[in-house]
């Protein structure tokens, strides 16, 4: 079995090298990692958190940021925020969908529609935002990552760390501050610790008490909003994450058990075949003997 262990070690070693690909550029403070309910092999989304995150998105972000790949129906699907179908139908009806076939060119939305984008095209979006282009939110949580110095990133392959996106978004939303001395901000620019290059054209979008959550017990703070929104964006990027991880647990359990059985079958089969290789020292000793 020694050889076999060497191979496993080699595999692991090769995997560890795959690493620095995900690194964003260093500079500025490192993004602090948050603890997410959807992290790790057994992670699942917190429905209430996704619902709150959607509320933040809808009340704050949606005026500039689209979500063109997400349909209203997704909001009621398993593994997501689990709004009821009636809620989704009512929500969709609040939106006007451009539809050349409808009378007047627009009609109220239905659950099968995707979220309409806030701007007709990139140029219009830039004109409305002082030249900056608010990115679409459909997959943004997977389009962002965090930089980690060696050797920290090497461990990610074994922990399955895939939450760089939400960690970055959370940090970005919390990362606004006064610019350090010597940095001149142009009009419409803001200083952010975590934005690449630090000069960001988005005004601080969230602040304590901005969004009123239903019910009691959830603090209405910037940190809470940023956390809920980041979780929601992870869901928009990866709506089937929970089902995927559940399937993964079954698949890996099967593979390990199956590999165990095969190992015993193979050993039984090979029991009477001598096949171990000698070291050069053994060969020399045998030759002398």
């Amino acid at each position: 079995m020694f050889k076999f262990k060497t191979i496993l070690a080699a595999l692991v070693g090769a995997m560890a090298l795959v690493a620095p690909a995900t690194a964003a550029e260093p500079g500025g403070p490192l993004v602090p990692k948050q603890s997410w309910t959807f992290a790790g092999p057994f992670g699942t989304y917190d429905e209430n958190q996704l619902q709150r995150g959607f509320q933040v998105y809808r009340e704050v972000c949606a005026s500039c940021h689209g979500m063109r790949l997400i349909a209203f129906r997704n909001l009621s699907e398993p593994g997501g925020p689990r709004f009821s179908e009636a809620q989704v139908r009512a929500l969709a009806a609040e939106y006007q969908i451009v539809d050349p076939a409808a009378e007047g060119g627009v009609r109220p939305g239905v659950p099968a529609d995707r979220f309409p984008t806030p701007f007709a095209n990139e140029q219009e979006a830039r004109d409305a935002n002082g030249g900056a282009y608010p990115p679409d939110f459909s997959v943004i949580a997977k389009a962002r990552g965090i930089y980690e110095p060696f050797p920290n990133w090497a461990f990610n392959y074994f922990t399955g760390y895939s939450e760089g996106g939400p960690d970055y978004i959370h940090a970005l939303l919390m990362g606004y501050r006064e610019p350090p001395e010597g940095i001149e901000l142009q009009p419409g620019q803001y200083y952010n610790d975590y934005f690449p290059g630090h000069l960001i054209s988005m005004a601080p979008p969230l602040q304590d008490g901005l969004v009123t959550y239903e019910g009691e017990g959830v603090p209405e703070t910037l940190d809470q909003y940023a956390t809920d929104l980041s979780a929601f964006l992870m869901w928009t990027a990866e709506p089937h994450l929970v089902a995927r991880k559940e399937a993964g647990f079954r698949v890996i359990t099967f593979l390990i058990l199956f590999a165990g059985l095969l190992y015993f079958v193979k050993n039984k089969l090979w029991a009477n075949v001598k096949h171990r290789n000698p070291s050069p020292d053994d060969v020399e000793r045998d030759a002398r003997a």
């Binding site: 191979i7 050069p280 060969v283």
Partner: protein, 416 residues
């Protein structure tokens, strides 16, 4: 060894009738079941079977993906998301294909380095080795083109940088570049031809794999002590001995594979590829996929002119040379001993070569500045020196340890 007796005897008139006209069953029995295989192969030898399975996995998942994918610059990005979101099982199939490419290369590199250590490229297996190098180069091209298909930022800029390499070729460079791109810049025609070739070339690989296995079955397997098979006592039939051992190895290999597919499908890729391609915005760092990094480092390491060869062309020559040199390896290493186990000096330089190759990989992902530039030059120099200086020299000056007389004698010895 060249004549393998098969103990196939057709049972019944139908089998006999078929056997006299197309001895397919006889052939299969001879080559897939009864084939005499050295009994001392270790687990490093299972990666051939793992690669065969990985090729099948990639082709099957790829065919399904092609059913749902749209090769158009305006639609490609969203069609991949459509596969992940709306196609039944699509997220698993897509993740398997994307992670599968990385796992394919993990197995491929282990397979190649096994060959390098145990001298599997030496006579009479030169053609077997060269066919393997052809497969390696083809697979790199396929993987590169496949990475372009989702039409993210890294897809686009990777395609731009890599196709640009060809413009360094004297005289034919510019026309070649335009032929590759189907225009003056990477655009819709590029995506279409890459999709077409990405679908075609795996079947070419499958055909070369058939030749690879054919070339394997003429001399038979090399083995960890590198001593030729002398009698039937040295071998066991491929089935059930190696079918079971390979199957076990395949299932074990699938465990880390599944880990990435189900728990971290994006960890081997780059977040920038979830941003749709944009010709106006260049990413901060354009990084190829990890499995191309060693050769990318060699490409970048040549940043100086040599006589009339400018640095750009020099880099291309070095990168192409680093692959072409593999074809000549059987004639560069003249040592008569195959297995590295019995070559004390070779062993040192071999492991240094392995470490050096990992360093080349690491450097490919780093910016070309500061200490990295110097390290890249040193590592590139060692890569070539290993093949051009060290191996030819070692075969002259090294005294190998005594070899076992035969496989069965070595395994019957007091080694254990």
């Amino acid at each position: 060894m060249s004549s393998h007796e098969s103990n196939y005897s057709p049972t019944g008139p139908v089998e006999r009738w078929v056997d006299e006209r197309l001895p397919l069953v006889r052939f299969a029995k001879e080559h897939l079941m009864d084939f005499p295989t050295p009994k001392n192969l270790n687990y490093w030898w299972t990666f051939g079977a793992i690669l065969a399975i990985m090729l099948v996995v990639q082709i099957v998942t790829g065919i399904v993906l092609a059913m749902h994918y749209t090769p158009h610059i305006d639609l490609a990005f969203d069609s991949v998301e459509h596969i992940r979101r709306d196609v039944n099982g699509g997220r698993i199939i897509q993740a398997t294909h994307a992670v599968g490419a990385s796992m394919f290369f993990v197995a491929l590199y282990i397979h190649i380095f096994r060959g390098l250590y145990f001298g599997s490229y030496k006579a009479p297996r030169e053609i077997l080795w060269m066919l393997g190098v052809i497969i390696f180069i083809l697979v790199m091209a396929i993987a590169f083109m496949g990475y372009v298909l989702p039409w993210g930022q890294m897809s686009f800029w990777g395609a731009t940088v890599i196709t640009n390499i060809f413009s360094a070729v004297p005289v034919a460079g510019e026309p070649l570049l335009q032929l590759l791109r189907g225009g003056f810049a990477v655009d819709n025609p590029t995506l279409n031809r890459f999709f077409s070739l990405h679908y075609l070339l795996p079947f070419v690989v499958a055909a070369v794999v058939v030749l690879h296995i054919w070339a394997l079955h003429v001399p038979g397997n090399n083995n960890p002590i590198g001593v030729d098979v002398k009698s039937s006592r040295d071998t066991v039939p491929f089935h059930p001995y190696y079918t079971m051992k390979d199957l076990f190895a395949i299932v074990v290999f699938f465990i880390p594979f599944a880990w990435f597919v189900f728990f971290a499908p994006d960890i081997l890729g780059h977040p920038d590829n979830y941003i749709q391609a944009n010709a106006q915005i260049t990413p901060a760092h354009i990084v190829p996929e990890w499995y191309l990094l060693p050769f990318y480092t060699i490409l970048r390491a040549i940043d100086f002119n040599v006589l009339f060869i400018d640095s750009r062309l020099g880099g291309v020559i070095a990168m192409a040379g680093s692959l072409v040199i593999l074809f000549f390896l059987p004639w560069l290493d003249r040592s008569r001993v195959r297995s590295g186990t019995f070559r004390p000096m070779f062993k040192i330089f071999y492991w240094l070569f392995v470490v050096n190759f990992l360093v080349l990989t690491y450097l490919g992902a780093q910016p070309a500045e500061g200490i990295y530039v110097l390290l890249a030059k040193i590592s590139t120099a060692y890569y070539f020196a290993y093949f051009l200086i060290i191996l030819p020299l070692l075969s002259r000056i090294e005294t190998p340890r005594p070899l076992p007389a035969s496989i069965s004698e070595s395994v019957l010895g007091k080694a254990h």
